[in-house]
């Protein structure tokens, strides 16, 4: 009797749980969230079991994570909005370096960092808009236009200041704003959390986001209904450029210097984070939370491989597997959605 009654009680709760899991997986960022949560639990358990060999939970390690996430986070948020609008920007890594160098050189020449930083963002926005205008005016794939941008602005870095490292000494007020500590949290980490909230509201609760999704999801339909798709796309390009510059500000404040080659490959990591986070390469699908989880996942895996002292090439192989796996999953979800 007792056994059968507990059985009877267990069955509905199990189906309820499985339907909850299915609901979660059906959400745009659901599957990535499950993967992320499982890896976190595994890391935390391992960190508690082997506190000396696997220092995942040590304060030093958590600080490193908090400092590492915001830079890629900013780049990925910008790249992600643009991907949802149906376009790519491969030039953000170069723009990130260029704007950071301009800012550092200007501050070195005596300009206030509080002026130089907005200037950097403005340049990032302008380059983004230029990419957008060229792409739309000539009807080109943004992949090609921004591939050109990647090489052009990488060269422009060397033209502007040569292949030398630039020191960045903005003064204490600026430093504490972008790399200080508040309530035990790194300032850059607080910035990225704020930006994730703002982007979430903008993309999912504001008309602008709705138009971005419509533009990327079905350009012809968005045009037919009277949305100015070109203006939306140029705005998305501008956001990608501006966020690249903001990432440069955070990175430069943290390190205190800029290397001319530091942005190489970051654009691909940002796009990778977006794909892992469930964004469609065709546009129109994805979520801001997904993008951020994608960034966190890349950094968690990097961190774990560092902690277990794995050689660096494992990292790239791991992320490669993750990207392709995520893309397969997205394709599967998309097919189901449009069946």
């Amino acid at each position: 009797m007792t056994i059968s009654s507990t059985d009877g009680g267990a069955v509905p709760s199990r189906t309820a749980r499985s339907s909850l899991a299915r609901q979660l997986l059906a959400k745009p960022a659901g599957s990535i969230f499950v993967v992320f949560a499982l890896i976190q639990i595994a890391c935390i358990v391992a960190g508690l079991l082997f506190p000396d060999d696997f220092r995942y939970l040590s304060p030093q390690n958590l600080t490193i994570l908090m400092k590492a996430v915001p830079v890629l986070g900013c780049l990925a948020l910008g790249a992600g909005v643009l991907m949802i609008a149906g376009e790519f920007d491969l030039s953000i890594g170069s723009v990130y370096t260029l704007t950071a160098i301009i800012m550092a050189v200007q501050v070195g020449d005596g300009m206030s960092a509080f002026l130089a930083a907005p200037l950097a963002i403005l340049i990032g926005v302008a380059i983004g808009m230029l990419n957008g205008v060229i792409t739309l005016r000539f009807g080109l794939p943004s992949f090609i236009v921004t591939l050109g941008g990647l090489l052009f602005w990488r060269g422009a870095v060397l033209l502007y200041n040569g292949a030398v490292q630039v020191r960045f000494d903005p003064g204490p007020a600026f430093s504490s704003l972008f790399s200080g500590t508040l309530f035990g949290l790194n300032a850059a980490f607080i910035w990225i959390i704020l930006l994730v909230v703002v982007f979430h509201l903008l993309m999912h609760n504001h008309w602008f986001g709705n138009h971005v999704f419509a533009t990327g999801g079905n350009r012809a339909a968005a045009t037919a209904i009277g949305i100015n798709v070109k203006r939306i796309k140029i705005a998305a390009f501008a956001i990608a450029g501006g966020m690249a510059a903001f990432a440069g500000i955070l990175a430069t404040s943290r390190v205190g210097s800029v290397q001319p080659g530091q942005g190489t490959g970051l654009e691909l990591q940002a796009i990778a984070a977006c794909v892992i986070g469930g964004l469609s390469l065709n546009g129109g699908r994805g979520s801001v939370i997904g993008i951020f989880l994608g960034v966190l996942l890349i950094h968690t895996i990097t961190n774990v491989l560092l902690l277990v002292r794995a050689p660096g090439f494992y990292l790239e192989m791991f992320i490669a597997t993750l990207i392709v796996g995520a893309a397969i999953l997205n394709q599967f979800i998309e097919r189901k959605g449009s069946a």
Binding site: L201, N205, H206, W207, F208, N210, H211, F213, A214, G217, N218, A220, A221, A222, T223, A224, I225, G226, I227, S280, G284, R285, G337, S338, A339
Partner: protein, 246 residues
């Protein structure tokens, strides 16, 4: 009293694309609460006519009138402002967005800061789907449009037109992708809107569908009108003859 001027009129409209004359002195009109069938074989100029009325093309000569007043539709928005809603074969919907977001796409309800009034839009969408469009299978306005069938998608497009108080629906080959049951539902929808004084232009080469709902038929051939007749004065046999023989 409604004025005697027709709701929508085409006056001696011609359209040339380079050396190709797509339309030649085409004139016809649509009255308030009237369902007009625009018939003709492939290449008769039906699609060009639809594009002119929805503002995608502009006439080379002649003009379009709304309520008897000469107007020029320079873009899609102009025709929408005049109350024309075009429902295409491939309806203008975004598969990756919900029904609610599609209905309000480009015309979102927002607060002063531009943030979406999501619960308000959702309630309206639910109401419109329930009252205006009776197509089975749509149980929630949160469903993604990509998950709907062809008929359900057109129902969403019609719901959008109904909610935004369109005066003329321009249905371009609406039944070509639909099942028999969905076609029936769509044609009933057209009649229901007519009862609410919404006019429709049904562009089709399926005479039987047109004969079922239209009050008047305009038959086109080689870019111009060859026959314009009220339903009471003709038979489906005569219509077929005109479409086939002219």
């Amino acid at each position: 009293m409604t004025s005697a001027a027709p709701l929508l009129g085409l006056h001696d409209v011609s359209k040339r694309f380079g050396t190709l004359t797509a339309l030649k002195n085409l004139s016809f009109h649509v009255n308030e609460g009237e369902v007009v069938g625009l018939l003709g074989d492939n290449g008769a100029g039906k699609s060009t006519t639809v594009n002119l009325i929805s503002g995608i093309h502009q006439p080379t000569s002649g003009y379009i009138s709304v309520d008897g007043k000469q107007t020029l539709f320079t873009c899609r928005t102009d025709s929408a402002d005049a109350g024309v809603e075009t429902i295409y074969q491939n309806t203008a919907l975004v598969d990756s967005l919900s029904i609610t977001r599609n209905i309000f796409m480009g015309r979102e309800r927002v607060n002063g800061m531009g943030f979406l009034k999501q619960s308000e839009m959702r309630e309206i969408a639910m109401e419109v789907l329930k009252s205006a469009v009776h197509i089975s299978g749509i149980d929630s306005p949160d469903k993604l449009v990509g998950q709907l069938s062809g008929g359900q998608k057109q129902a969403v497009a019609i719901a959008r037109a109904v909610f935004f108080k369109r005066r003329v629906l321009l249905l371009d080959e609406p039944t070509s992708a639909l099942s028999v049951r969905e076609t029936e539902a769509l044609l009933n929808q057209v009649l229901k809107l007519k009862a609410e004084n919404v006019s429709s232009v049904l562009v089709t080469h399926n005479l039987y569908h047109a004969y079922q709902v239209c009050d008047r038929f305009v038959i086109m051939s080689h870019g111009t009108k060859v026959f314009d007749v009220a339903k009471a004065d003709t038979t489906i046999g005569q219509l077929t003859e005109y479409v086939v023989l002219t």
